[in-house]
Symmetry: C2
């Protein structure tokens, strides 16, 4: 049975699921969902009214982190979580860091102000929020650089779903040129590695009407 | 080695960790943390600047859901996650429902407006937010009632960490009398079952200076 993902292209939570599925070579049909319209059909699929929603084996699933844990348990190859509890904890901590802290401090202030508001017809960016996001992303890039000083990947010496969680946010922000790749060599090298994976190709081909991506967005040599 | 939890008594995220630890009979020393002061010592323990922070076997851990997953992996008895991937997914989905959606729509609007703002010296409750929270909790109680119509516990026929995630939020709100237990018999019966567990005793003994709990808060026959 085919899998189907209801998504929006620049949602970092949808991108995380897309990356995990692509890395595990799970084919999925992508269906764009204007979740903010809160159509009854969509709310039946997910009473929380959010994307991503994954239909897999006839079951509807919501919430990106529980979906990724499920994908890891059902399709363990290649592994995106280590085997030891301490290593698994660290991956989950970093996923939560990006999906909660980075999301509120950076993604909501930059991407949602600049793109989502316009797409949803909710007016203009609040410059105070954009400024706060532009300030916060520096701190987060420095935190990543500090982690990558000690490790090859964000949560340890193997690539995990923590790298995909982070890359999902950063790639959405890169689509609107909001990431300063010159701030840290470490972070740039990390992003170049993850960006060149086959799993990333789908994201690099995304196009949002009214928001053409900058030339460097899909360039592996950015 | 003794375990130590840096927490605040009414934080639902701290309460979830306390309930999981108590259910697994893991003794833990509780240390109240004024995390909003962002003391350098505390930020060294957790750069995200939030509670809970658990010190276990000499390692500092943050983020309640990753901590609970770690506790489950290191101390599997009694199990608070089922064994099948579909069952595990459903538990994690409901944890995310409460820790994300319920938290933003209800807990932040009621508990943080009424209690945290005063404790942190951030002024008076915003009545618009309190109204939004009082409206939203009805919808969430109805969703719980609908789930409990089909299942003995929130995520299935066994008690899991999903029940603790939900009870952590509801117990904090019950401390300020913001839960209408008469709205649904199902939900009240569920809360009576979970409230009477030995793991709940610590929470029922909590006292926040300036906010005495109502008499029904610690009453098992509420």
């Amino acid at each position: 049975m085919s899998h189907r993902l209801y998504h929006v292209p620049l949602s970092p939570f949808c991108r995380k699921v897309r990356l995990v599925m692509a890395e595990k070579r799970l084919e999925v049909e992508l269906v764009e969902e204007r979740y903010w319209d809160q159509e009854p059909d969509f709310l039946r699929r997910n009473p929380a009214g959010k994307v991503p929603v994954l239909r897999m084996n006839g079951v509807m699933m919501a919430e990106s982190q529980p979906i990724c844990e499920y994908l890891e348990e059902k399709h363990p190859e290649p592994p995106l979580l280590p085997r030891d509890p301490e290593g698994r904890y660290e991956v989950r901590r970093i996923c939560a860091w990006f999906d909660d802290k980075f999301h509120h401090e950076v993604t909501a202030n930059l991407l949602y102000e600049r793109v989502n508001k316009k797409v949803m017809g909710q007016g203009y960016p609040e410059s105070r929020n954009v400024k706060a996001g532009a300030k916060a992303i520096k701190y987060h890039l420095d935190y990543m650089a500090w982690l990558l000083d000690q490790r090859r990947w964000l949560a340890g010496d193997a690539m995990t779903m923590a790298d995909f969680a982070a890359a999902a946010h950063l790639s959405s922000l890169d689509y609107i040129s909001d990431v300063d790749w010159n701030r840290s060599e470490n972070v740039k090298d990390w992003y170049a590695k993850i960006k060149s994976r086959p799993a990333f190709r789908g994201l690099l081909a995304d196009q949002v009407p009214g928001f053409p991506p900058p030339p460097h967005y899909a360039d592996l040599d950015f």
